[in-house]
């Protein structure tokens, strides 16, 4: 509904009292604030200032129809609900005004009016009940629960199961693991290039003069031929690496001659 639509006060009958006019305007301006036609009817019925049980449904029907008409004049688009109710109110009004048609088996105007009054009374009762309900002492607003609850601890105790048999089997597994490990290399007689590099770096300070590369072989790796071979290879590879880094110089007078190295001056 269009709230911004300018209210044309000329649309109201000039004879209307100012108060009634203001009230009607308020109703229309507020029309989208209504929760449907029943809510509107309930509001209109309050202008009768009587007990809802004694309400004049005929008067109410007229009030409602007048309201809808005015809304139409103001070109306020009413939801279908309101229009359906208007049609029904017109029907109700005619039923209440005209003498009952003996041919018609439907409910009488009085019965329809009574039900409408009941609906209005019930709606209002539920509104009051809702207000009382919301006004109760509410948790978190008026009454409070324990702020520091001590939770029911689900103490999870884990019991580990292990038997002597598990223990023995585990031990047997550990002690026989080597038997079945086909790919472990025996590494006692292998000197790696990393080891050689480390060793040479620590000895470089002393290599001011040209000296045989074999001087850099680690102690205890020169006797056993297997060990010596590995250590020599690693040391040679490491010295190539150091030469590449520009930290040493290498020279060899002829094929198979001893390889000499010295520290490169900075």
């Amino acid at each position: 509904m269009d709230k911004t639509h300018p209210l044309d006060s000329d649309g109201f009958g000039a004879s209307n009292e100012i108060e009634a006019r203001l009230r009607a305007e308020a109703l229309i301006v507020d029309v989208d604030g209504f929760e449907g036609p029943l809510d509107l009817l309930l509001t209109l019925s309050r202008t009768q200032k009587v007990d809802l049980r004694k309400i004049s449904v005929l008067q109410l029907a007229e009030q409602y129809l007048a309201f809808i008409t005015r809304a139409g004049m103001l070109r306020i688009e009413l939801a279908a609900d309101y229009l359906v109710m208007a049609a029904w109110m017109a029907f109700l009004k005619s039923r209440l005004l005209l003498p009952p048609d003996p041919e018609d088996a439907g409910p009488s105007g009085e019965e329809l009016a009574a039900h409408l009054a009941f609906q209005l009374e019930r709606l209002e009762a539920m509104r009051r009940a809702a207000a009382r309900l919301m006004g109760r002492d509410r948790l978190g607003r008026d009454v409070f629960a324990r702020g520091l609850p001590e939770d029911m601890r689900a103490v999870r105790r884990t019991e580990y199961r292990a038997t002597v048999l598990d223990l023995m089997q585990a031990y047997a597994r550990v002690r026989t693991r080597d038997d079945f490990e086909p790919l472990t290399l025996k590494r006692e007689s292998i000197f790696t290039m990393e080891q050689a590099l480390e060793r040479m770096k620590s000895l470089l300070g002393e290599a001011v003069e040209w000296g045989d590369i074999s001087r850099f072989l680690p102690e205890g790796w020169t006797e056993d031929p297997k060990k010596r071979r590995s250590a020599t290879a690693a040391t040679f590879a490491a010295s190539l690496e150091l030469a590449k880094l520009g930290q040493i110089e290498l020279r060899q007078h002829e094929t198979f001659a001893p390889i000499m190295l010295r520290r490169k001056e900075a």
Binding site: M126, A130, V143, E150, M152
Partner: protein, 228 residues
């Protein structure tokens, strides 16, 4: 056990079996501890189960309830359970604890009241009372607050679903049961909770709409999307 209670035990039940239930004063302490420890209401059955064999939770609770009469905290029955709550007259002290609740729309409040007072109630019946259709958002919100839930389907054509209030609703509004809703008796006596069908097809959302809706609601497998 602390010394006190052990003594009490021997004093009250001399020469009795080790598996004798603890004395009632001790049981009262247990119920007190259990209820204090929890922010949520606890059922008697729950407490009974926690307590040692032979205890009578109901009896202990009755004692405890008396003890807390007029205190700053009170023992309240909320739905199926029991819980301690601060006395309402002291709420002014608790500003800091107050939780800001979303302001409910008029539609939500009215729908909630209608469900509470008329439960179990179908959506069509709520609409008939309010004279306007119930938006899906309203129902969702009330469900989310855990104040309403689905009840049993109506055994009428279309088997519409119904709504009822939850334990949490009772908890929140401090009610022992929906029968304790304010003014429910007068409303019933005045016939305002009767399900009085309209004489003929009244306009609005009643009657005709219901049939249409029920078709959706008939399929229990259908998601809730379709339900509202």
């Amino acid at each position: 056990m602390e010394p006190d209670s052990a003594e009490m035990h021997t004093a009250e039940t001399p020469g009795e079996s080790l598996f004798q239930a603890p004395p009632l004063a001790e049981q009262e302490r247990m119920v007190e501890a259990l209820l204090f420890a929890s922010a949520e209401p606890l059922s008697l059955a729950y407490m009974q189960e926690r307590m040692p064999h032979g205890c009578d939770a109901a009896e202990a609770l009755a004692l405890l309830r008396k003890r807390y009469q007029g205190r700053g905290v009170q023992l309240m029955k909320l739905g199926d359970g029991w819980a301690f709550r601060t006395a309402p007259d002291l709420s002014f002290l608790m500003q800091k604890e107050r939780v800001e609740t979303r302001k409910l729309s008029r539609a939500a409040i009215e729908t909630l009241a209608i469900i509470a007072y008329h439960q179990p109630v179908s959506r069509a019946e709520i609409e008939e009372i309010r004279g306007v259709s119930v938006s899906r958002g309203t129902v969702d919100l009330l469900m989310e607050l855990d104040w309403i839930k689905l009840g049993r389907r109506r055994m009428t054509p279309g088997r519409p679903v119904t709504f009822i209030v939850t334990q949490n609703f009772l908890n929140h509004f401090g009610l022992e049961s929906p029968r304790d809703l304010p003014g429910i008796r007068e409303l019933r006596d005045a016939g305002l909770l009767d399900n009085r069908p309209p004489p003929v097809a009244m306009p609005g959302v009643s009657g005709t709409d219901e049939a249409g809706d029920d078709e959706d609601w008939d399929d229990p497998g259908a998601g809730q999307d379709e339900m509202f």
